[in-house]
């Protein structure tokens, strides 16, 4: 609910309550005033009639008989209400009447004078009509005013909101919001500007640190691997296999560290948008795919995996970063090999709109959307750092491709599909 709508709602509730109360009071008040007026007139008439009778003159004739009703039989004295049929309108009309006694030739005579009261229903109708009309006008006015206010007064807020929604830290630009005339919004914008400047500065520091760390770590790792490999060549070690194995294990660990490091560097470069679009070249994914599959053949053989390849004819070249395209294909294929079962199957299909890799394999537990998280391992004991799918997701995000995972039972089959935008 909009803030203005919320305040309007309370405002209108209050207005409706007040209007109802005012309508009631107005009705009661008007009725009382009319009745009071009628009684006053009736009293005047009584005085007049009594004077006429005292002077012995005949009573004046009235237009309507009911206005002056004479009776020889006794009647209840004083004010009272009555309903009489209006012969013209053929409906009962309320009257206020005053009955009094005057001396007459045969002893006494009872005279009733009457005044028509406005029908209370008519009165109610008028009162409610006026009040509801005013309420409706007020409501329309408030809604209209709010619309106008929302456009005019809240425009800076909407502007700020739009900028925040579109804000991308990766562009390394602070928000730079203007200072509107309304002080609350000006304060908000100022606070947001400061926040974004801090964010940009922190982010830049972190990015530089990552970049430097990446560069500086890679060299010692390369040296470590080379030295350890060279150490393995020492002739004495051929007689000391235990030490040889220790060195070999150390070298393997250094290699793992180096790979992990490379994968993380790639991820952070993707996140920081450090692959310039100018580096893109036309890439024939079908060729890349065939090359990769040819290289991975021993892995397929070793696990006795059956490969089915569907490549649509005449695929257009896509402008991609060669390294990223290679990484995407490589990671998807490797994933299909790694999470397969011996004697299983891999189906790879490449069409102008999508690249799909599906493989047989045991069901995996957990939320599929989390498979793309970093360090997500199917098998905790695996040496693989579990970054492959995360890299796939980041590359797809970088190019605006959709990547989705699906699992089908009977036969158990995992499918990763990349939809080109």
């Amino acid at each position: 609910m909009q803030l203005l709508a919320a305040t309007t709602r309370y405002y209108l509730l209050l207005a409706a309550g007040l209007f109802a109360l005012a309508s009631g009071l107005l009705y009661v008040g008007l009725e009382w005033a009319l009745r009071h007026e009628a009684e006053e007139q009736l009293r005047d008439e009584q005085t007049y009639v009594q004077q006429v009778v005292a002077q012995g003159r005949p009573l004046p004739t009235r237009l309507f008989a009911y206005e002056l009703d004479r009776s020889a039989r006794p009647r209840a004295l004083g004010y009272s209400d009555t309903l009489l049929l209006d012969p013209v309108e053929r409906e009962l009309v309320p009257f206020r009447q005053l009955t009094f006694q005057v001396p007459a030739s045969q002893g006494a005579e009872w005279i009733t004078v009457r005044k028509s009261l406005v029908e209370s229903q008519d009165l109610l109708r008028v009162v409610l009509g006026v009040m509801l009309g005013a309420l409706a006008l007020l409501l329309l006015g408030v809604v209209g005013l709010n619309r106008w206010l929302a456009r005019r007064l809240w425009a800076p807020f909407q502007h700020t909101l739009g900028r925040l929604r579109a804000y991308d830290l990766h562009r390394h630009q602070p928000l730079g919001l203007p200072a509107p005339a309304i002080s609350e919004f000006a304060e908000l914008n100022q606070a947001l500007n400061q926040l974004s400047e801090r964010l940009v500065a922190d982010y830049e520091n972190l990015r530089q640190f990552t970049e430097n760390a990446a560069h500086e770590t890679q060299t010692p790792l390369a040296i470590m691997q080379a030295k350890l490999e060279q150490a393995l060549q020492a002739p004495a070690l051929l007689e000391d296999e235990a030490t040889l194995r220790l060195l070999s294990d150390a070298r393997r660990a250094a290699q793992r560290l180096s790979r992990l490091h490379q994968a993380l560097t790639l991820l952070s470069k993707l996140e920081n948008q450090q692959f310039a679009p100018t580096q893109a070249v036309p890439v024939h994914l079908d060729q890349l795919l065939r090359d990769r599959l040819a290289v991975l053949e021993p892995l397929l053989d070793a696990r006795d995996l059956r490969l089915t390849l569907h490549v649509a004819p005449d695929l257009p070249a896509r402008p991609l970063h060669l390294g990223l395209a290679d990484s995407l294909v490589q990671n998807l294929l490797q994933n299909a090999i790694k999470h397969n079962v011996p004697g299983g199957e891999i189906v790879v299909s490449l069409t102008p709109t999508a690249f799909e890799v599906s493989n047989t394999g045991p069901a995996v537990s957990g939320d599929p959307s989390r498979f793309f998280e970093r360090f997500r391992k199917h098998n905790a004991a695996s040496d693989s750092p579990g970054l492959g799918l995360s890299i796939v997701q980041h590359i797809c995000a970088y190019y605006g491709f959709q990547v989705c995972y699906a699992y089908a039972t009977y036969p158990a089959r995992h499918t990763l599909r990349v939809e080109f935008a």
Partner: protein, 225 residues
């Protein structure tokens, strides 16, 4: 065989230098672009190993220099993994091959040997190791003069072993050589065992035994004698 190694990182340079010398190459080194430039203008080499990121210049310019002088030297690019564009540029400039850092020294040996072999036009292009002769031009293997039929991967494996005689080859290095440098070696190295078993069996059938020594948990080694 005379090589020039251009690498700015001293430790790495020394290790690579030691390895190449062990395998019988005459190696000179350059730590900077200026040094490399000077040596390339003064002397001629059979193969030049160039690190593309040098503190005082772009290694690609060294390749340009060699090509401008119509040098017969082979060029092997040493590059960081993220330098894909540089790698592509280098190959377009006429470099023979590239190797992504960090690399296995045994892989370096194999690459250098392949480059030199391709560059040697005068006569002897065959590799000889004890009773085995390989003619890479024809992709032919002779054991004691008799042709030996190998699958492509077995042949690749044999060439790799022959490029590193007497050297301990780790399983990871062999796996990467056969399956590319991105292979998740940690996950399944069993296939190397299968290939080696098959290769050994085929050699054994020709009476060539005990050429390949297994170093349990580490890798393999081609016995010199």
């Amino acid at each position: 065989m005379k090589l020039l190694l251009v690498e700015d990182e001293a430790e790495l340079r020394q290790t690579v230098l030691d390895t190449l010398r062990q395998h019988g190459y005459v190696v000179e080194t350059a730590a900077t672009f200026a040094q490399a430039h000077e040596k390339l203008t003064l002397y001629s080499y059979d193969c030049v190993l160039v690190d593309l990121t040098l503190p005082d210049g772009d290694g690609l310019n060294l390749i340009r220099l060699l090509k401008a002088e119509n040098s017969p030297a082979g060029v092997l690019i040493l590059t960081a993994r993220d330098g894909v564009e540089d790698r592509v540029k280098g190959l377009n400039l006429g470099a023979d091959d590239y190797l992504v850092k960090p690399f296995h020294l045994s892989e370096l040996n194999a690459r250098v040997q392949a480059i030199i072999r391709r560059r040697q036009f005068q006569g002897q292009t065959q590799l000889t190791f004890r009773d085995i002769v390989v003619r890479p031009e024809q992709a032919e293997v002779l054991v004691r003069g008799e042709p030996l039929a190998l699958t492509r991967k077995e042949y690749d494996l044999l060439l790799y072993l022959l490029a590193n005689p007497g050297r301990v080859l780790t399983k990871e290095a062999i796996a990467e050589h056969l399956c590319g440098d991105q292979v998740d070696a940690a996950d399944s190295l069993d296939f190397i065992y299968t290939y080696l078993k098959n290769l050994r069996k085929k050699l054994q059938e020709r009476g060539v035994d005990n050429y390949i020594r297994t170093l349990y948990g580490v890798g393999y080694k081609l016995n010199l004698e």
